[in-house]
């Protein structure tokens, strides 16, 4: 169910690295329960945009607004650092392309899943243990492996642990950067199926960055196509993929077929 209230809004976000413009004047909004896909080739500024929207890279100009604590849209970069960190760990979740970026490798799978709960103030062992087991089965992993370290898991399984970790504290918004990158096709398909199920079941708002149009088609309600830091086309996923208007989008879609 897509809600009416806007959860995240970007107004003219521009990200620069020195003279290089990674993201040029990007505006977008995201509603509760909505999945927004950002597609484009390597170097098109997708990840820079995501990094900036998720409070980790202050844009050179423009504003990023989030409905902090359900209290209305607030400028993320106008918050104090501890408050911004609180929003990031309590209200948002992150799924990185490389599970090693999102997981603590010296801590068991269960420990990785309970860390966000601890960050939100949970302190009861039995509650946390229950959540760890619950989430492992939700991402279709063997609960008997709850105390093994991520290094003992395959790449696809690590990604499942990372997804559990990103969702365990029931964030209101999840950022995903190439969640199925680097996995083989059959594993990708199963993972996507799982992600789609979880997103629908939990009614999550998700911003997913991918270069894989199949991922975008399966997950996203709406799509934004980026090229050279600019948004060249935006609209409903099926619309954009089935009837691309922009020349670049047409190229992208035909290349994927």
């Amino acid at each position: 169910m897509i809600g009416n209230e806007i959860l995240l809004e970007a107004r003219g976000v521009t990200v620069r690295y020195g003279l290089t413009v990674a993201c040029d004047n990007v505006s977008l909004d995201l509603r509760a329960g909505e999945v927004l896909g950002i597609v484009g080739e390597s170097g098109s500024g997708k990840t820079s945009l995501l990094t900036s929207l998720s409070g980790r890279l202050r844009p050179a100009s423009g504003e990023v607004l989030f409905d902090v604590g359900g209290q209305g849209l607030t400028d993320v970069y106008g918050l104090s650092e501890p408050e911004r960190r609180r929003v990031r760990r309590e209200e948002w979740g992150f799924v990185h392309q490389n599970p090693r970026d999102g997981l603590r490798l010296r801590i068991s799978a269960g420990g990785n899943i309970v860390e966000p709960l601890l960050m939100c103030g949970e302190r009861h062992y039995d509650t946390m243990r229950g959540e760890a087991l619950e989430w492992l089965s939700r991402v279709e992993l063997d609960v008997a492996r709850v105390d093994q370290r991520p290094s003992q898991f395959s790449g696809g399984m690590q990604q499942r642990v990372q997804i559990a970790r990103a969702l365990a504290h029931q964030p209101r918004l999840v950022f995903m950067d190439e969640p199925t990158g680097g996995l083989d096709v059959s594993v990708q398909a199963r993972l996507l199926d799982l992600l789609r199920g979880l997103v629908r079941e939990l009614g999550l708002a998700v911003m997913v960055v991918t270069h894989d149009l199949a991922v975008a088609r399966l997950l996203a309600d709406r799509l934004m196509v980026m090229k050279n830091g600019r948004v060249v086309e935006a609209g409903l996923t099926d619309q954009v993929l089935d009837d691309p208007q922009d020349a670049y989008t047409q190229l992208l879609v035909s290349a994927a077929m």
């Binding site: 650092e81 760990r89 603590r104 010296r106 068991s108 860390e115 601890l118 302190r123 062992y125």
Partner: protein, 296 residues
């Protein structure tokens, strides 16, 4: 604590207490800051010392900056006064600072230690100096210094609890035999050096000043007298200290921290106090009482 270089009968060619006066001033300033912010790790310009890192370079620098002619110095390693490291560091300060040394916890004004806090309760005016290998309780889980600093600054203390979760999940019990993290003055989480969790409760509300020095990691932190120090725990899993079924086989104490000593190669072993001075004193007292009884 007042250094009097002129009067001290110390080694020729070295400054009093080995370190130069400017370094001592820098370390004292750092200590004052550490005392002002209990449990906060203050960076300092750690110097090369004539022993390797890991043997107590941090503790020695603190001692050298504090010690004066009228101090009485005690040094223990694993609770024992007679181990190589303890004997050497004691001899070092006898030589470079000309101070009296002792094994008596009550007589000492400065006690430097690795691994243990003495069994005998400390009093006001005494200074307890701990040698610390890894000062940051978050380092085990988070390698980035910028990140751990932010976590301390904003009281984001999930990570030590993740460690506790791990120990119960993997071992079914509290795993941290030593260095169990504590919350100091209700503000900073710190690692109490690698002292056993048995000694953790003794840090709380202690009348003596407690200083922690990490030479390699270049950090000093402190617990001022009468400061609250609470061992972290998860709900439903209370903090536990080590327990032994029996008593010390030398002095019969049931309240001290016991070491397991292997006595032969056929599985023979005995439990004895790790605090050698505490044990010796109890045995002396026991023998005296016994002798007194025979006289009557």
């Amino acid at each position: 604590m007042n250094a009097q270089p002129a009067a001290a009968p110390t080694l020729v060619g070295y400054n009093y207490a080995y370190l130069d006066e400017q370094t001592k001033r820098m370390i004292r300033r750092t200590m004052l800051k550490a005392i002002a912010i209990p449990g906060y790790q203050v960076p300092f310009g750690s110097r090369e010392m004539p022993i390797p890192y890991g043997w107590g370079t941090g503790g020695i620098q603190l001692t050298a900056s504090l010690i004066g002619n009228d101090d009485v110095f005690k040094c223990i390693d694993q609770g024992a006064d007679d181990t190589t490291n303890a004997v050497s560091i004691r001899a070092f300060f006898a030589k470079v600072a000309g101070v009296a040394t002792t094994e008596d916890t009550e007589a000492a004004t400065i006690i430097q230690s690795r691994h243990r806090k003495p069994e005998h309760a400390l009093r006001e005016g005494q200074i307890m100096i701990y040698q610390v290998p890894q000062p940051d309780p978050l380092r085990r889980y988070e390698a980035r210094e910028t990140e751990t600093r932010a976590m301390h600054a904003y009281r984001e203390y999930a990570l030590p609890y993740v460690g506790l979760y791990e120990s119960y999940a993997r071992l079914g019990r509290q795993a941290s035999g030593a260095g169990h993290p504590v919350l100091t003055n209700d503000r900073y989480v710190m690692t109490p050096s690698p002292i056993p969790s048995f000694d953790n409760p003794k840090l709380d509300n202690c009348p003596a000043l407690q200083l922690f020095g990490a030479g390699r990691e270049k950090r000093i932190y402190a617990v001022p007298p009468y400061t609250s120090v609470v061992s972290l725990h998860l709900d439903g899993k209370p903090f536990e200290t080590q327990r032994w079924g029996g008593a010390c086989e030398l002095c019969g104490s049931t309240e001290s921290y016991l070491d397991e000593v292997v006595t032969d190669d056929e599985g023979g072993r005995m439990y004895v106090c790790s605090d050698t001075h505490f044990c010796a004193k109890r045995r002396e007292a026991g023998e005296a009482a016994l002798a007194g009884g025979q006289d009557q």
